[in-house]
Symmetry: C3
Subunit: 172 residues, 3 copies
């Protein structure tokens, strides 16, 4: 009986290690380096877990150098540059999610992604901008990364960031 339990623990340990290293390896393959999450500066936090869901705060396109990608898409930035901002934002979201979970292999499903594109009144390509985020999520998580999504425009965002994105994630 003791041996049986030992074997079960060993097996579980193994499978967890493999899964963890799979997502970490995938991130490395994609050349994605997660960030050290900054400390919250106000009376809110970057992620809250309730039951099996993690709600992530709206994140901006914070680059590795500590600066945000700023500007209005359709005026200061092209659609492709907006998509790159959405990709950078996705990395920030995954960084906060990892800080919350410890291990991204505990992600069961990216449930919902909402993204706001800081843009001109005439800009119409919000989905193409948001693909920068969606494509990264599916590259990292495969089918588990396929989410429901709402792509929106807005006339202004905090600090004039180019995009702001939030997520709801189902976890184990």
């Amino acid at each position: 009986m003791k041996h049986l339990i030992a074997i079960i623990f060993l097996t579980c340990g193994f499978s967890v290690s493999f899964a963890q290293s799979d997502i970490d390896k995938r991130l490395a393959e994609l050349g994605i380096e997660l960030q050290e999450p900054s400390a919250p500066v106000a009376n809110y936090v970057k992620a809250v877990r309730t039951g099996n869901l993690v709600y992530l705060s709206g994140h901006g396109p914070l680059k590795a150098d500590g600066n945000n990608i700023e500007g209005k898409v359709g005026k200061n930035l092209t659609t492709a540059e907006g998509a790159e901002a959405a990709r950078v934002t996705a990395i920030g979201l995954l960084s906060s999610l990892k800080a919350e979970l410890g291990d991204l292999s505990r992600v069961k499903r990216i449930v919902k992604v909402n993204g706001w594109v800081n843009c001109t009144d005439k800009f119409k390509e919000q989905p193409q901008v948001m693909n920068g985020c969606s494509d990264l999520l599916v590259a990292v998580f495969g089918d588990k990364g396929k989410h429901a999504r709402t792509s929106l425009g807005t006339n202004s965002l905090p600090g004039n960031i180019a995009v702001e994105i939030e997520m709801v994630v189902e976890v184990e």
Copy 2:
């Protein structure tokens, strides 16, 4: 005992059939024809279920002829035309929900509806626009269709659609 089980199965079968046909009949009475959901064109999907909740992507006012209702409310469209766009969007949402559930009688509650109205800076009647969606949901589902709601304005939406609406739905 066998007979009892048979009766239970028969009864359950009957009640499911009745419920299903009730919603279908109600849709027919209202003259609402659901759409064949289009295939996803990017790395996201129209609906994700987690536990008893279904999260629906932001939908636009896609008409039966395959075209969206476009324009800014307060400029190209009146409030009434915006409300009609919200009604059309609700039909699209129910079409995607039916594709996810198989049967709309499995809807236990429309929990939350968020709607963005593509409008001028001076437009103030977003709730009247969103009533086009809310009224249809309550016409179809009765009290189960009464939802929490957020009605918002925005300076631009994908493809210049008039409204974009998402929902969270509790299902059996």
Copy 3:
């Protein structure tokens, strides 16, 4: 056995009373008076509960005198006035939440807060506006009030209200 049950009931009754009076006392200490929620005027409601989550509708800055705080931040209102509008809105949200729950001591966690600031295209201080809401939530609930948050700008809101805020709350 009967005595044991009686003691359990008494103890539970006591702890509920204490917790209830704690939040009520905290509100009084902060000089916050909750409002009598108005009746819904359309086919939606102010709050829907599903499982342990309560989804609250988008609320505006309705003052005790029955008028909303209106205007665009960055044009008709300063950032500080916007933050006051967000604070007033938080009181309205708590009023609707109390109407739903009966007792705010049943709040386990403010999970998510989304806020839209009615503002000019150049306004960048949406987070400072939203702090008016977040600070009140933490003043009332302590650590349970720390939420994930998304602060957004928009070109227009219903009735030209200054801010619109919605919440997801985990309850006992």
